[in-house]
């Protein structure tokens, strides 16, 4: 079962991280576009379409990755003080009442939407000679699919937490700096040690 969980986790993480590189492409493409505009008075004709496509692909396809890291915001005023079994019970119920219907609706409507774009071979109308839009629109049902998959893994986690009273482990991954620092401090590192770890980028996990 653990292997099945990690397989789904790995899939979501891999998809999210791969599309994450869109941010570097977005940075470079937009900078190039601005540079061409001011240096040669020759802005690219693909710059605008490329920018929203890179941005849209980035966040849509990272949705399941964020879910696998428990990265979607919760209003956790009460939630964080609940015993773990309660948390798991609430989550499990709401995954079925809210999450799956929402994601299935997104897949269904996204599929119809993308199909239409493929049928009419839709191109962007925002720039002359606009690039095709159907690949981009196909990301909607695809993002829904990966969320659905990750949702299954989360449901399995809830069931196991209900049984054992402990949340199953998640894959280790890069954390926000403040979380990393707080973790270091909890593990008894001194302030200077933590600062040195931050300065070199080498935290304890990395050494293992």
């Amino acid at each position: 079962m653990q292997r099945f969980l990690f397989f789904i986790d790995h899939t979501s993480v891999w998809v999210g991280k791969t599309f994450g590189w869109c941010i570097l492409a977005l940075t470079l493409a937009t900078s190039y576009d601005v540079f061409m505009r001011y240096a040669f008075r020759a802005p690219t004709d693909w710059g605008y379409d490329a920018s929203y496509m890179l941005y849209g692909s980035l966040f849509m396809m990272a949705g399941a990755y964020a879910l696998s890291r428990n990265g979607h915001v919760r209003g956790d005023v009460l939630y964080r003080f609940m015993p773990i079994r309660w948390q798991a019970g609430v989550d499990l119920t709401l995954y079925f009442i809210f999450f799956f219907p929402a994601v299935i609706a997104l897949m269904y409507s996204g599929f119809e939407y993308a199909k239409m774009a493929w049928v009419i071979k839709e191109h962007s109308a925002l720039s002359p000679d606009g690039p095709p839009l159907y690949h981009f629109k196909s990301l909607i049902p695809l993002a829904g699919f990966f969320l659905f998959l990750q949702g299954i893994a989360e449901v399995v986690r809830c069931v196991r937490a209900l049984k054992t009273g402990e949340w199953p482990q998640r894959l280790s991954d890069v954390e926000e700096l403040e979380k990393q620092i707080l973790k270091d401090a909890q593990q008894g590192m001194t302030g200077d040690e933590i600062l040195a770890a931050v300065a070199t980028g080498k935290h304890k996990e990395d050494k293992q």
């Binding site: 999210g16 493409a29 919760r74 409507s109 926000e176 700096l177």
Partner: protein, 438 residues
């Protein structure tokens, strides 16, 4: 039940479910689909996908991941330590110099990164022990770090104003122009408070021993040149390009991210693993923010189809508020929402509910946005849910009590309220610059 009543039920259900702690983005989508199906049948599916595509192709939100990326790179480029040390020696003549330098460092670093947690924990490790060692008052030291770290979400180029701009349909450029003076005013009030209290009671912030501050001016200048100047150039060029219309916010953000990479190369900190960390964190945080938009835009479309907005408007008209009373009530509600919720949720989900009312009372949405931006500072600083205080507590020496940190935050919350009052009495602080520039 009439449709508007169903709309109110939808809002009530949403608030109840938020408190259960389920990921909000999916709660919003599900409620939109469920109630939308009740109201309009199958049309809700095309509404959902159009709102989703609306977020995917929104040209304002493009700058969100870019500014996040810039922030993560700056955060990892080791500029903070240099910045603090150089500002500390450069300000040695000022009363409470360490506290003022801490405020300035926090404000500047937070402006460049836009992230609250990192600057509070890092400065808690860097500046807090130094201040305690020299004998600074614990509360004052805790207050400057927590309050200073939060300034980054107000002072442009801040991500919060982009989210407000996208939600309220106000130009981000105008919001940036409007937020500059209020941001500086708040930072100035913080500094005035620190200096003023020290002048009244010098024991709060003893003078540094002279051997620590006795550094020749040439060297101080050199230190500033390698820490303060690059970061200042980065921030002002990003902001300047936006304000003078040389680049759109997203273009300026892209150049800012590129500039951040160059700075980290300059500090010999750039490598593949820090790039990967920044890329992956950007992906996760962008997904979190933008999926919240997908949920919120679907939700508020269905809410307004059901006529929920009219009900809320009706409640307010029944109360027969004057515009001033409405403004104060709205700010109190947003202040209270800052306890259970994070600022991104307040801006993306609750501001759309207030906006029709803002127009109804004839208040400039730009002005309202700046007030909200000031107000949200308090959500990090007001006990019991002050995130900034918990971050500091997490890394502070064990003998520092959470209550001491809370007590340190409170005077700065009062400064925020004073700033809001000043802004209300003199709206020109926010509205003058946008009116001159555009």
């Amino acid at each position: 039940m009439t449709d508007p009543q169903v709309g109110v039920l939808m809002l009530g259900l949403f608030i109840a479910i938020i408190l259960l702690g389920f990921p909000i983005a999916f709660t919003l989508i599900a409620l939109a689909v469920g109630f939308g199906y009740y109201a309009q049948g199958n049309i809700v599916f095309s509404l959902l996908v159009q709102r989703t595509y609306g977020v995917m192709s929104n040209d304002i939100l493009i700058s969100v991941p870019l500014f996040l990326f810039m922030g993560y790179i700056v955060e990892r480029s080791n500029v903070l330590e240099r910045l603090f040390h150089s500002l500390q020696v450069a300000m040695k003549g000022v009363p409470a110099s360490l506290a003022v330098a801490t405020l300035a460092t926090c404000a500047m670093f937070a402006t460049a990164t836009g992230i609250v947690g990192a600057v509070v924990t890092l400065m808690g490790l860097l500046a807090f022990p130094v201040m305690l060692k020299v004998g600074y008052d614990v509360k004052l030291s805790a207050g400057v770090i927590t309050a200073g770290g939060c300034l980054g979400i107000l002072i442009p180029p801040s991500i919060m104003l982009i989210l407000y701009g996208a939600t309220a349909g106000v130009s981000v450029v105008k919001l940036y122009a409007g937020a500059i003076f209020p941001g500086f005013m708040l930072a100035g009030l913080y500094m005035l408070y620190v200096v003023g209290r020290t002048l009244i009671n010098p024991r709060l912030a003893p003078k540094l021993p002279t051997e620590q501050t006795d550094i020749p001016y040439v060297q101080i200048f050199k230190m500033l040149l390698t820490s303060f100047v690059p970061l200042a150039i980065l921030i002002t060029s990003v902001l300047g390009a936006i304000l003078f219309g040389l680049a759109t916010p997203s273009e300026a953000a892209a150049l800012g991210a590129l500039g951040a990479i160059l700075i980290s190369i300059g500090y010999k900190r750039f490598n593949i693993s820090m790039l990967k960390e920044s890329v992956f964190l950007t992906a996760r945080t962008s997904a979190m923010v933008c999926w919240l938009f997908v949920g919120s835009w679907s939700f508020s479309s269905v809410f307004s189809i059901l006529g929920g907005h009219e009900v809320v408007e009706h409640w307010f008209t029944v109360m027969q508020l004057s515009p001033i009373q409405f403004l104060i009530l709205a700010q109190i509600i947003i202040f209270l929402l800052g306890w259970p919720l994070e600022w991104s949720e307040i801006i993306i989900i609750f501001v759309p509910i207030f906006l029709p009312l803002v127009k109804f009372y004839g208040i400039d949405p730009l002005f309202f946005g700046i007030l909200v931006a000031l107000n949200i500072q308090t959500s990090f600083l007001t006990p019991p849910m002050a995130m900034a205080a918990y971050y500091l507590k997490g890394i502070a020496p064990p003998h520092i009590k959470l209550t001491e940190i809370f007590a340190g935050c409170l005077p700065f919350v009062f400064m925020v309220i004073i700033a809001m009052a000043l802004l209300y009495i003199f709206p020109g602080i926010a509205l003058w610059l946008p009116s001159v520039l555009y």
